[in-house]
């Protein structure tokens, strides 16, 4: 059977920690702390109006615009890393990227390699199916994810 005292003690301990000023959630690998005031590594892959990669200069489109604004709130400079979806997913799972964009949908197959944000916009594909748009983040970096979620949910995305 479960250890009652252990569970109760754990709960008390955790509640105690929260009241001592530790913010919840925390990042196990400290992403939010590392990127704040420093470099935000963003994976980009081309996808229609969401992400465009011109031959010269920074990525353009809806999502790079959002990411630039988000980076500003963190006082971070962006390092754009282009690659295929597969490469970006692998980089995320190995901690070599802080986030990835490319018109990803909430039913993305990369959920074993990456975490996803809340859907921040909805469109319909040519078959009339609803597409919920999300961005990819490293798995389990919940403080960073919450920060990004709070930013994205506050945006009015013009389609």
């Amino acid at each position: 059977m479960l250890n009652i005292r252990g569970a109760a003690a754990g709960l008390v301990l955790l509640l105690g920690l929260t009241s001592c000023g530790i913010t919840i959630p925390q990042d196990p690998d400290g992403t939010l702390e590392r990127v704040s005031g420093a470099t935000l590594r963003v994976g980009v892959t081309e996808n229609a109006e969401w992400v465009q990669l011109p031959r010269a200069g920074d990525p353009a489109g809806i999502e790079p615009g959002l990411v630039e604004e988000f980076a500003e709130t963190l006082d971070a400079t962006i390092e754009w890393v282009p690659g295929s979806e597969h490469e970006l997913a692998q980089d995320l799972s190995h901690g070599q990227l802080d986030m990835a964009i490319g018109g990803f949908a909430a039913d993305t197959p990369w959920i074993k390699e990456a975490g996803i944000t809340r859907p921040y916009a909805e469109t319909r594909d040519e078959r009339g199916k609803t597409v919920k748009h999300v961005m990819l983040v490293p798995m389990g970096e919940n403080a960073f994810l919450l920060k990004l979620d709070q930013f994205l949910q506050a945006q009015e995305v013009e389609l």
Binding site: L2, N3, A7, P25, D27, R118, L146, L148
Partner: protein, 338 residues
């Protein structure tokens, strides 16, 4: 739940239930319905906030499995009312055992699956991702809702468990007992899941898997315990009390009553549990044939049936000596019901 149902429910097969058991059965049916309604609400609530927590998933699956015992009980309670028929001369009491077995197998399978699943998550160090949720224009951490849902679902099952435990004793109902026992332990599941989620919150990703492993272990433990009890019942082990803690004292009482009769030299019974009621075969060695009249045997049987409502399907077999092949342990001296 209609008044008609209540009227019909006053019997198990051809056993007329005494007033106390009749009321207990009526209450048990009512409380099992309340349990089902509560479970429906809580599984829906938890489903809404499920997210990526393994511990929440384990707790949710346990909630889903908790539907099985009350449903089994309600179905069995209908079936066992039927009187014995030509094709079912022993009645339908075994329906309880079948329901018990089905619920136990489900618990074992899901417990084992969750244990393996959580273990894999722990080994592959897949960090559980829980982000924000937007409610009323505010985006905050989904983990808080998970903890809230768990704390909300922790209390009520304990109360349900305590109430149903009493009824299980009165009704000698092992499915109801198993259900009550699981409910009573439910708050530990909820608390573990809450601790797991808070663990994720403070950056301890493994806390979630640790909680999930605890929860699945407890599901598996419940399953194995119930499986043993259910198989024991279906394979005719000696009748035990509703909580399987000791042999039911009814057998001993019948033996000592029969032995106390003036025309009886020796008496010994074997008792099996058919669900709620017992099947009893009592072997009696009379002191001499003129003494053991049919009338006396019938009177002795009636006295035994009066002794306990569970005793109805009882036969008294007059024999010249106690048959060892039917009464194992006879030659070891002491009574069967030590």
């Amino acid at each position: 739940m209609s008044s008609n149902g209540e009227e019909e429910a006053a019997r198990f097969g051809h056993t007329e239930l005494p007033e106390e058991q009749r009321r207990a059965l009526h209450k048990a049916v009512k409380w099992e319905w309340i349990t089902i309604v509560f479970l429906a609400v809580s599984t829906f609530l938890v489903y809404l906030v499920l997210g990526n927590s393994q511990a929440m998933k384990a707790a949710w699956i346990e909630d889903l499995l908790s539907f099985l015992p009350p449903i089994s009980f309600l179905i069995a309670a209908r079936i066992i009312r039927r009187r014995p028929t030509e094709s079912h001369p022993y009645g339908y009491h075994r329906a309880v055992g079948v329901a018990h077995l089905v619920a136990a197998v489900a618990l074992v399978v899901m417990g084992a699956y969750l244990l393996v699943d959580s273990g894999i998550g722990l080994v592959t160090a897949e960090h559980p991702t829980i982000g924000g949720v937007t409610l009323l224009g505010n985006t905050f951490w989904l983990g808080w809702l998970m903890v809230l849902a768990m704390l909300f679902t922790a209390g009520p099952p304990v109360v349900l468990g305590i109430i149903k435990m009493k009824l299980a004793k009165t009704l000698h109902d092992k499915v109801l007992y198993a259900d009550a026992d699981m409910n009573k332990a439910d708050w530990m599941t909820a608390l573990s899941a809450a601790v797991g989620v808070l663990g994720i919150g403070v950056g301890l990703w493994w806390a979630d898997y640790a909680a999930a492993i605890l929860i699945s272990t407890s599901i598996l433990h419940d399953g194995i315990k119930n499986l043993r009890a259910a198989i024991g019942g279906l394979t005719d082990t000696r009748a035990r009390t509703y909580d399987d803690s000791r042999p039911d004292p009814v057998g001993e009482r019948i033996d000592s009553y029969l032995q106390s009769l003036s025309w009886v030299r020796e008496a010994r019974s074997r008792v099996r549990d058919e669900g709620h009621v017992f099947h009893i075969e009592s072997f009696v060695v009379p002191r001499g044939w003129p003494g053991a009249t049919l009338q006396r045997i019938e009177k002795a049987r009636e006295a035994c049936v009066e002794m306990d409502w569970k005793v109805q399907d009882m036969v008294i077999v007059p024999v010249s000596e106690l048959p060892e092949e039917f009464l194992p342990g006879l030659t070891q001296g002491g009574g069967e019901y030590r």
